[in-house]
Symmetry: C2
Subunit: 346 residues, 2 copies
Amino acid sequence: MITSSHRRFNPLTQDWVLVSPHRSKRPWLGQVEKKPPELLPGYDPDCYLCPGNERAGGIRNDNYTGTYVFDNDFAALLPEVTHQKDSQTHPLMKAEVETGICRVVCFSPRHDLTLPELEISAIQNVIETWTRESVDLAAREDIAYVQVFENKGAVMGCSNPHPHSQIWSQSRIPNEPQKELISQQMYFNENHRPMLQDYLTEEQRLKERLVTENDHFIALVPFWAIWPFEILVSAKSNASRLEDLNSSQVEALADILKRVTIRYDNLFETSFPYSMGFHQAPADGQPHPEWILHAHFYPPLLRSATVKKFMVGYEMLAMPQRDITPEVAAARLRELSETIHYRSIS
Amino acid sequence: MITSSHRRFNPLTQDWVLVSPHRSKRPWLGQVEKKPPELLPGYDPDCYLCPGNERAGGIRNDNYTGTYVFDNDFAALLPEVTHQKDSQTHPLMKAEVETGICRVVCFSPRHDLTLPELEISAIQNVIETWTRESVDLAAREDIAYVQVFENKGAVMGCSNPHPHSQIWSQSRIPNEPQKELISQQMYFNENHRPMLQDYLTEEQRLKERLVTENDHFIALVPFWAIWPFEILVSAKSNASRLEDLNSSQVEALADILKRVTIRYDNLFETSFPYSMGFHQAPADGQPHPEWILHAHFYPPLLRSATVKKFMVGYEMLAMPQRDITPEVAAARLRELSETIHYRSIS
Ligand SMILES: O=P(O)(O)O[C@H]1O[C@H](CO)[C@@H](O)[C@H](O)[C@H]1O
Ligand SMILES: O=P(O)(O)O[C@H]1O[C@H](CO)[C@@H](O)[C@H](O)[C@H]1O
């Protein structure tokens, strides 16, 4: 591997990332983030996601005991059939109507239990909820893509610490899945195997970027990772959507999510912030043999619980840049326990 | 224009942005940012960018009186001729050696004067420095692109409040300019006019997204803006690089930068954070009739000096999303003074 600065190619998005291995010694004198509070109550009377509490507009949550799903009170996408038309007043000003449905999925009634702290069975329950909602939304005529994601931590724009995820579904395939669709289809047409299958095989041979795996899933820092401790979690089978997983695969996914997030929390001994989400095949009812179900974890922290990587000037105007290599990041993540959470020792 | 949620197309990058006009009433209970300090000293003995002070590794700054340029002490790109080769161990793991030069450009000796607070002549001096450095770097065999940018404010990863910008130049064209190159070339081949020229003509006719203009430059919130108060500053002439500007055009650019940044500071009565940078034509010594010199301002603030827009889960995994429309943002920016800075009234 090149040890001086270099760029690496992401075959899923067809974009490049600049890697500067020598730069990790840079001192940091800029903004530091607030640490998340170490202890939250199991129930918070002021939390609009806790069971029985009131949300925006006076709606009251059920006294739920498992997961809890409701339509986002401030949805970015609305299902209403508007009588508006696509508008193109000039060839350089193209706008298209976009409808959709946005839902919120609370992981459990517990205000204080994040993914790594939930029992495997509770995580399975979360996955089954994501699956059920994905199937329900995908069945609609007006939905072309279902994006399941979690913003965790205030630094990732999460406005409520009660562990929850979101599902935004919409009438057209958004940018990122669209790029992945084209790349995976091209690769499949040429090689007659899914791109991620070939990629995982090679990573399992090399081992240097692996973080953890079980019978049905693998977690690794991708060769083209942008974020310091980015992780790709991928199915080993040909599943292309959550609904394609059988019950032991769902359990394996719960297991790998728990292992990955325990490692994350142990890295800087903090509730590790990230945005994560699943890339499933488009909701077109068609088989997608080129597409392997996977999740991306994009965590911002760089060197401690309070120092993050800023994707700013150069990154916004030119290309993403990273200091520590994916190989070093994977090695650091591999050293940590994936079964014992730092908060359980004391 | 569509008043419900819709997507808009960016012809420079070929990407889409989701616009949710109805969502601007969403209350914000998440992270708030620290306000930048209102008053800084003109000289700070602890600042490694102030004249005469010591930087990393014991180097001492000149007692400079105008702009001040030096090689970044922690450069992400290094010029050294390594004997490393591009590496491709597998078709899905492509890496290429990337060399380059990273420089820092201090705007002036004054620790406390940001762009909007500098005299026009001092801003001209900054532009002339960017131009000289761009020409110098572009003349090198090993440089294919020169990226001039400024990260302003701690929230934008700026690690020193002493007003400064950076220049990162490198041996291959990075992602964003490469996308803009292809789009502008395609448009030029089809229409025999630069894309931005046609776009500006239409915006001048419509006026609803204009922010300000002078004889040689125009500033507007682009139709496809991602950030709440994003601004595109574009030359009206056929200049495709900073070096193509004559002296009255340089003065006009200084003038428009001052007007735009005064409006920004006045919007929330704070030193407005942003990343900004110039997209010049590639440093290939060739004419680029398709390319019009422009700068992008990407400011994160959404509704106050302390509440920013988070580009997180959905945005990272699916596509950028915005709440207030570009038209509303432009109207708000138009209402503000562009000559009187809020701090000068009191
Ligand atoms: O070079 P600086 O100002 O120390 O660093 C800042 O700008 C760079 C270029 O956009 C980024 O890579 C860094 O993450 C950011 O903190
Ligand atoms: O929906 P939330 O959690 O209030 O909002 C958060 O996630 C959204 C989806 O990634 C983003 O658009 C918002 O900027 C962010 O603050």
